[in-house]
């Protein structure tokens, strides 16, 4: 189960949990599983997220792999100049 860390202001959409564990092999599966478990997270996911998997920030690649023990952080979608 990958551990997905939610930023503080997301936690109210996930029953106050800071870390949500989901079964997923890819970033896309992880996001789908999150939304299924906590539909309140839907708007945040739809608004666009960046995901950091084991330290590497992945902008929008749903195919990027997530391992069973991965530490995943959700971040707001990053822009650059």
């Amino acid at each position: 189960m990958a551990k997905v860390h939610l930023w503080a202001s997301l936690r109210r959409f996930a029953d106050g949990q800071e870390v949500v564990e989901v079964e997923a092999a890819t970033v896309g599966q992880m996001l789908d599983a999150l939304e299924k478990a906590h539909p309140g997270l839907g708007p945040a996911i739809k608004a666009g997220l960046s995901v950091a998997v084991d330290g590497e920030v992945i902008a929008n690649n749903r195919a990027a792999p997530v391992a069973a023990q991965s530490e995943v952080y959700l971040l707001q979608r990053l822009k650059g100049g």
Binding site: H5, W7, A8, S9, L10, R12, F13, G40, P43, A44, A47, A52, D54, G55, E56, V57, I58, A59, N60, N61, A64, E71, Y73, L75, Q76, R77, L78, K79, G80, G81
Partner: protein
């Protein structure tokens, strides 16, 4: 990859050859956005709201249309309805709908047979407004009783009960901040403000576009990302993106401001109404300043706990950022993670709100959000260093992020170079120069995430053994040279034998813009992968010719060689020989790589600045300036230095004199370069640079993006240097002379 794994012995990487587009650019031949013309071309002009906030009651274009030579007028009524989200924001910004939301908001556009005629016609378009209450300042927009300028802008993230102008809310952190503050010897809390600034690219937005009644068209435009332009124009106009072919011109600077659309759909819409005649639209400078995308203005609370030995025990920030009248445009999502990114602090709390106000729709500007965050946090760190009489570099070395540190925003840093930049700054002669009267020194570090993103590159081997590389990231600062160097290094051929072209939307898969410091990193990475594919194919061709296995062929110095004694004795087969025969050995040889590039390494830098302040006028002179930044590997060091120097210069401008000044009427008071004061040549000293190289393991040659971090440290470094020179701390940028003089006087 550890430091001693650094790959060295490059033949070309690290050299400084002439850029391929240099000749065109010094002779005036290079073609920028406004330099394109087409037969039968019309010229467009835009009618803009003089009001910060007004209901559009009526638009009457009959007098304009009655002029001979006026061919078309478009208003919002000509655009499709039913868009939502950011697509609706883009459409609303292209042409105002029910309301004009800021001074300069486009209301109508007109096409005519000459630019002067179009301007005359625009003056004849009568717009009736009902002026509404407005608010332009970030704190004023948050104040109780502020006019709520748009209903329902709050997204899912905004808790109940917040001010009606709040569009987004964000909070994250780790550790126990209360315990952290309790463990500190001193806890200090301050509020900092930064005004909005503009990227200030010298080339105004310009494009020529043509669209027929079938909704298919072409566009030549100055942009950082032509696929973005294509997608955005298509959604605003309700046409198929694939029907639009967008060719990027040379680009006269962007710095984030040309990653999106402002007026580009207008010439397409006008062209369609004018029977498909091409239409050229070039913004004036005042249109650029009033109605493109400056950065957010910010009001920021910071609290820090520090022990007397300089250990930072806890930190907390609350940022309020205003990104114009459109939700989602302020960089709170970037500013918060950047706030403490240079530090490893056990307890942190970050909170931010995005506020909307009657200002233009903000766009990205070089490390969006990071300069403001650094101004707040690095200023307070400096204030506490001065209070505790601690060396600012020592405090940063002590608390700074390292390889393996958990970043302030969650993920763990892999291989980063912050400590190396701090050590190099400390060791630099500038840091030891004695200061004279009224002089002060400031130090600050800065961070940017960097970015990879959607990237598509093709490479074709020529019959003469050259290579042509097609990239989709417009070259703003010399990336064709650096990508050419990497490809030449990989292929083992002379730099001059590689031609790198930025190609249009019809010639490659989708590419994100040149943003996020990604062009040399991501297009470079994909170009190297493309070259490797071509090498593999060339090895197969040689193997076939030699009658051996392809695995028995290796590539070096621009030629296929038998890999070892078992492969047989064959003279090396050069890329030229393989290229000359490729038609008869299996066809053209090329390589392609398409990827959403990961593995970009985080970027850190440290700046040291010395200033002198005239105590009688408050005017600041920058005496010397040092930029130290990690480049991973500097492919073309001259253009790496150029990014450092250019970023520093923009940061110096932001720190000292640049600001958006709005009057009580909500109108921008300084929409010309006379009063929007970017640094001129005589304002600046030489900008010393040190390129630190901690190779990024996520890139075949160790590249890290270098474009953005450099704008971040100057804001706090300059304010801290002024504090050193005068004893007066400026917590609200810019450090303009009236403000500095008033602070000196207030100090007594």
């Amino acid at each position: 990859m550890a430091r001693d794994d650094v790959k060295t012995g490059y033949k070309l990487i690290g050299t400084r050859p002439n850029r391929p587009d240099g000749l065109d650019k010094v002779t005036g031949r290079a073609r920028y956005g406004a330099d394109f013309s087409l037969p039968g071309m019309l010229h467009a002009a835009v009618v803009r709201s003089p009001h910060a906030h007004a209901r559009i009651v009526k638009i009457d274009a009959s007098k304009a249309l009655a002029l001979d030579g006026v061919k078309a007028v478009v208003t919002r009524a000509d655009l499709p309805t039913g868009l939502t989200g950011e697509e609706l924001n883009l459409q609303d910004n292209t042409l105002a709908g029910e309301k004009a939301l800021y001074d300069g908001h486009a209301v109508a556009a007109v096409a005519a047979t000459s630019a002067l005629l179009a301007q005359d016609a625009a003056r004849l378009i009568e717009v009736e407004y009902e002026v509404l209450p407005h608010v332009t300042d970030v704190d004023a927009a948050m104040a109780p009783g502020a006019p709520v300028i748009r209903e329902g802008v709050a997204d899912y993230s905004v808790p109940e009960g917040m001010n009606g102008n709040v569009a987004r809310y964000m909070e994250f952190g780790h550790g126990d901040v209360d315990a952290g503050f309790a463990a500190a010897d001193i806890v200090r809390e301050q509020t900092y403000k930064t005004e909005a600034t503009h990227q200030g690219y010298i080339e105004p937005h310009a494009c020529v576009a043509q669209m027929g009644e079938d909704g298919r068209g072409e566009m030549w435009v100055c942009t950082q990302g032509h696929w973005y332009i294509r997608r955005m124009c298509a959604s605003v106009l309700g046409i198929e993106a694939a029907g639009l072919r967008v060719t990027p011109s040379e680009i006269g600077g962007g710095f984030g401001g040309k990653t999106t659309i402002f007026m580009e759909p207008l010439p397409l819409a006008l062209s369609k109404k004018a029977g498909g005649r091409p239409v050229k639209l070039v913004m004036s400078r005042s249109e650029v300043l009033r109605a493109t995308g400056p950065t957010a203005s910010a009001s920021m609370d910071v609290k820090l706990g520090m022990k007397t030995d300089g250990t930072i025990t806890a930190g907390q920030v609350f940022f309020r950022m205003q990104g114009g009248a459109f939700p989602g445009m302020s960089p709170i999502g970037e500013a918060l993670p950047c706030a403490f990114a240079c530090y490893d602090i056990p307890a942190l709390k970050h909170e931010a709100v995005e506020v909307i106000a009657n200002r233009p729709k903000a766009a990205a500007y070089r490390a969006p959000g990071s300069p403001m965050a650094a101004f707040a946090v690095e200023s307070l760190v400096d204030e506490m260093c001065r209070e505790l009489k601690l060396d600012p570099i020592a405090v940063r070395l002590k608390n700074g992020a390292k390889n393996g540190s958990k970043s302030s925003y969650g993920p763990v840093y892999n291989v980063i170079g912050l400590q190396e930049t701090l050590e190099a700054a400390k060791a630099h002669p500038n840091y030891a120069i004695p200061l004279g009267p009224n002089q002060g020194r400031g130090v600050a570090s800065g961070f940017w995430f960097n970015h990879g993103g959607e990237t598509s590159v093709s490479l074709a081997v020529g019959e003469d053994g050259t290579a042509t590389v097609m990239i989709g990231t417009p070259d703003i600062g010399g990336s064709r040279a650096s990508i050419g160097l990497m490809v030449a290094e990989c292929l083992g051929i002379p730099y001059e034998d590689v031609r790198v072209n930025v190609v249009e939307t019809g010639a490659l898969g989708v590419n994100e813009p040149t943003h996020g410091s990604r062009a040399t990193f991501a297009s470079g990475k994909a170009a190297v992968e493309s070259a490797r594919q071509a090498i593999a194919e060339m090895c197969r061709r040689a193997a076939a010719d030699w009658g051996i296995d392809a695995e028995a062929v290796e590539w070096k110095d621009g030629a296929a060689h038998p890999a070892g004694p078992n492969a047989g004795k064959h003279p090396p087969m050069t890329i030229g020989e393989i290229g000359s025969k490729m038609g008869s050995t299996g066809g053209p040889i090329s390589g392609h790589h398409e990827v959403t590039a990961g593995g970009y390494g985080a970027s850190f830098g440290t700046h040291v600045v010395d200033v002198e302040v005239d105590p009688e006028t408050g005017r600041t002179t920058v005496l010397r300036y040092l930029v130290v930044q990690d480049a991973g590997t500097a492919i073309h060091p001259a253009y790496v230095e150029g990014q450092y120097q250019g970023g520093a210069a923009q940061g110096i401008g932001w720190a000292l004199n640049e600001e958006y000044v709005y009057g009580t009427d909500g109108r921008l008071q300084n929409p010309i370069f006379l009063d929007y004061r970017i640094p001129v040549a005589s304002d600046l000293p030489m900008i010393d640079t040190v390129i630190v190289e901690v190779p990024n393991p996520g890139h075949p040659y160790g590249v890290r993006g270098v474009g953005e971090t450099g704008i971040t440290p100057p804001l706090p470094a300059i304010a801290s240097a002024i504090a050193g020179a005068t004893g007066a701390r400026i917590r609200s940028l810019p450090c303009s002379p009236p403000k500095v003089l008033a602070a000196i006087k207030a100090k007594g």
